[in-house]
Symmetry: D2
Subunit: 369 residues, 4 copies
């Protein structure tokens, strides 16, 4: 693991997720840029002192040479370091499990994609919400044609924690997320908007063609957007909207989608992740449940025993273990978020920032030839 020392949020989440299904063991780390804190964090986590590294470059080099070297590295640093760290490990031939957004700039993302293509080393992006069973259920229903031709995709991702200018009080999570030098050109649109667009892409299988965005920094003195309104057009002619915001009192982590097709509709809310509402056109709504009747996807524990965020995250780690060992993933081929998803996320951010900066115009996303 690179990053994730004492006081970090997402590093601890990765560790629990990796541990949950018993497929991974944490044996090495460069946990902090502060050497003493890194060593102490490593000791707390049971990492042997000789595998607690001062920096990521040293770790990549040393682990690549050990016969018992790591199977993969988890990158959980602030966003602006992702590209450098990932590059070092990919070049050392070590598989990468990287937190999102993949990089700070689109150029970095594209370079990383090229490196992955060139080296053939696996790269997995932890877009958490793709690990929820009922999100996968929704994807499967769409793929089966259960809701027919897609028409409109609505995604909301709402939080409240930047309602007041907490970064001015020194809140660590807020500090780097509101600082363009650490987070890149997007604030809320990068931090959570990328989850929204990834979720839309993952569930629908549609390719995003164009965006039109209105980004705003409402927080006093804030330099990056904390509220984003985005119109979407997909390549099939389907439309969509994203509202991503971190200034909505009364919300904590309200990520939800509603999809309208000509044969039916789907609706899901991350805060009640075990349920998926499915309405065939002209019929009553069926409430599908993880592990319940009329569902397609396998379950870790029975219906009614709620699984949540950590389990979704753990599913990505379990899938990653399967993928790296060449065993079939429970998710099917080509389904784990990869460097391509990361590039899409960065293109989405760049296009939204450009659209908004130019007063709200449609901006196309380039697509691979």
């Amino acid at each position: 693991m690179v990053g994730g020392g004492q006081g970090a949020f997402i590093g601890a989440v990765h560790r629990i997720a990796a541990r949950l299904d018993g497929k991974w063991e944490l044996v090495a780390g460069a946990l902090s840029s502060d050497r003493a804190r890194g060593a102490q964090s490593a000791a707390d986590l049971g990492i042997a002192p000789d595998r607690s590294y001062a920096d990521y470059a040293q770790m990549a080099a040393a682990e690549a040479q050990r016969p018992d070297g790591i199977d993969a590295v988890a990158i959980v640093t602030p966003n602006h370091l992702h590209a450098k760290v990932a590059t070092a490990f990919l070049r050392a031939g070590i598989a990468v499990i990287c937190d999102k957004p993949m990089t700070a700039t689109l150029a970095e993302a594209e370079a990383l994609a090229a490196l992955v293509a060139q080296t053939g080393v696996p790269f997995i992006l932890t877009q958490t919400y793709t690990g929820y069973p009922m999100v996968r259920e929704a994807r499967a229903l769409v793929q089966q044609g259960a809701i027919g031709q897609l028409r409109h995709v609505q995604v909301e991702y709402l939080q409240d924690w930047l309602t007041t200018p907490v970064e001015q009080g020194g809140q660590k999570q807020a500090l780097w997320r509101t600082d363009p030098t650490l987070s890149g050109a997007g604030g809320c649109i990068a931090d959570i908007g990328t989850h929204a667009v990834n979720l839309a892409s993952f569930v629908t299988g549609l390719r995003l063609d164009r965006v039109l965005a209105d980004l705003t920094a409402f927080g006093q003195g804030r330099r990056l957007d904390d509220n984003a309104s985005v119109l979407l057009r997909f390549d099939t002619g389907a439309k969509g909207m994203i509202w991503a915001s971190q200034i909505v009192p009364g919300t904590k982590n309200e990520l939800r989608f509603r999809i309208a097709g000509d044969q039916g509709g789907l609706s899901w809310d991350q805060e009640t992740p075990e349920l998926l509402d499915f309405t065939p056109t002209g019929r009553a709504t069926r409430t599908l449940r993880r592990g319940g009747e009329e569902t397609l996807t396998p379950a870790r524990i029975p219906a009614g025993h709620p699984e949540g965020y950590l389990e979704a995250f753990a599913t990505l780690y379990a899938d990653a273990a399967a993928a790296l060992s060449q065993r079939p993933s429970s998710r099917g081929p080509g389904c784990l978020p990869d460097v391509g998803d990361g590039v899409l996320g960065m293109r989405f951010i760049a296009a939204c920032v450009e659209s908004s900066a130019r007063g709200g115009i449609w901006v196309s996303l380039p697509h691979p030839a």
Copy 2:
């Protein structure tokens, strides 16, 4: 009443609403353009034969001359007739209670506004959702400053009944709503988008400055939009979005808003209209209930005994009776939707249609000098 003969939906709703609080009696009508059906409908409703008129012009003239003439006319015809009918009654000095949208074109709306200004005859627009107690509660909380400076206003209005091309099967409600010659240039944006924008204006008190719209006709062979994505900017710098759609399987009449202010948030859903979620920034969410604790607005029946759509509609009729008799409305001065709200609705439709037709550009709404 003009319109509302056998088989009509909204006419029956107006009659129940007028009756509910015992303030109105239906004594005259031109209920159908089909003379036989009009007479039969009038007889069914207990209207004396001599006050069942063949057409609205005759009715306006005759009622204006009777000493016991009507106090007001309710106009519940298809949209494209509203302006002509309203004009006849206003010229006859008879107060008008008109269904929405106010007219088929912006020009008609502006002419009607001018006529109201010139004649001084009362004109009330039945924007139903302003009659819900918890919508008024939300408005009162905003006016009191309970959520501070407004930042983002999100409104969704979703229905499913145009998912399939029911107008091709001759469904009456669908036929005129999807026909530009009867409904004007807007489909869904006019039929329900106007409710959404009215609700946003009513609750927030903000003046809509600009819109950017993406209107689509997804239904096979449909000529008017059935799905509308709209970005909003208000004069204070607040932002917003509207998603109005009539092709979303699994929804019936899901009108909801969420408002983010710097001191708190509000959230309401028309299908559970008795509840309003109010979150002061940094506190737990309070579920306010009609007639319950910590609420401001008076109640017709106690909390927990659900009131709904008809009661909201009835409140507009009760307020109208109070207004016409010069008694104070329970809603306070200047609060009943009027010809100005109708003009706003028509400007909103025109601006959205223009924005969408021009590929999605910001279009300003003219404001009275």
Copy 3:
């Protein structure tokens, strides 16, 4: 109308309900035992002075003799007067629409039933909740066998308004409901427990065989129960429970049932009355909606435009009008709550009071031969 003068709650509800569908007109009344208040209330309601009576006996006599006498009387007095008033009108040959519980004592109830049988005059009991469309839907599903053989019936009816001893502050509704000389031997069990048992009977069609009750008066100094726990056994071997309480903070009028059959289950909540959850065994839950797909019962207005308590009440008045005019009720033969339902309610109260007084033993309900 007898009772229902200024300040009364349920009288106003009956008037709105009667008016809503346009089938009834209020033309006579003995609205208050206080003569001046009765006259003033009558004037406010547009009742002609000569049909505003000083007492119910005078009204029954006078109306029976008028050629344009009333079609039915609505009795909305406190419970202990129901029997006397109903008797007077039944003897005068005037149909009775009576609020619940039907009487203050079981003896009165049985006498009333005998009188109805003897006179053949129609008697309708306004058990409001049987008027909800989705309650009728549930009944129809049970009758159709959609959930198979019934096993357990759970009903909760929870309110909070007697949490504190408001009767000591003179609150009028609380005063008579907590006074055994005005309400009879049951408090909460009579006031709302009767709704719960009526709902169970109405929906399931089961005959209640035995009850075992634990009644408690938690309110300081209160003489009648404000909290009731009841076990139920039906004649088929089905079991059930009722929790009725008026001291549960956080509830307003939470009446809900859940029914388990061997082929499926049903669940309904009065505070979201438009929805009925129906689960065929081994399938996902279907959310049925009034006026929506897969439902059986006709709708007054379209799905998604919420109907509530007043509409349910109005449906009873509409059905009563149909029944009195010998036209088929929308509800089918023998379906409007009648004097038999009233007797059942009184037997239920008496049996619960006895069971609880004897420390919690099973008490059988007598059934007609």
Copy 4:
């Protein structure tokens, strides 16, 4: 671990829970009575062959003698074996973490309690639901007096998986749970009723004084109850009810409580475990959230990132690790479910079985002197 070989449900849950917070490692086991399956299961879980034991007695003896012997044993066998296994490990001086219900008979439970008292070896009972943060929040609010003097405690625990006689098809979980020789005298009342009564006791702190139960076996040919109606009386005069059932179509694992106090009310539902509704008398309901504002208990991950069943279970394991290492538990002194809770559960089962067998009479629970 004893029990929990391939195909077992609760063993896998214990392993995930133990792993989640990184405080436990699985190093030894007697995973199955089938020797080959036990060995294979051990190999799959990474247990060294010399610590995969043929039976629990051998394991207790061997581990007690190893210098690196286990810190605690997790007992996840069918209920009827709990007592024997626990006895062996307690006698060997090894701490026990035991699944519920603690034993098959009350006599076994009391013997076990005596043994724990005599040996002083720690014994922890995994009453899962006490590990939910908002259940602990509710307990803390009650202890603080936030809802005043308690009046009524309602608990429902509903499942659907025994609606049809699945045990006749050989379903393993159903087979032993419906067999009195393996499960003891209680079916549903033991399997889930004990969770309900434990939850009531844990949250309220009240001592259960008496029960009156009506147990039924609705499933065709079933010998143990699958549906239980129970009236409760607590030592303070508070009342309560439990409905526990495994034959309710449309439910999966619906465990919920509602508590009425004279100063407020609380309501919680295990299927949305992150929320707790708290209503101070005379105020609007506050929706408290794990990790959110106005809450007391610490959070593993931020609000809005749902934690569920596995996290609740993991909290018990984390607390157990703290308790065994003499470090302060996050739950405060004396709070982890212990052998006393197990005895209470068995007394509850025995009293309910007796009450029901005798036709529904009040049966007192003996209490420690």
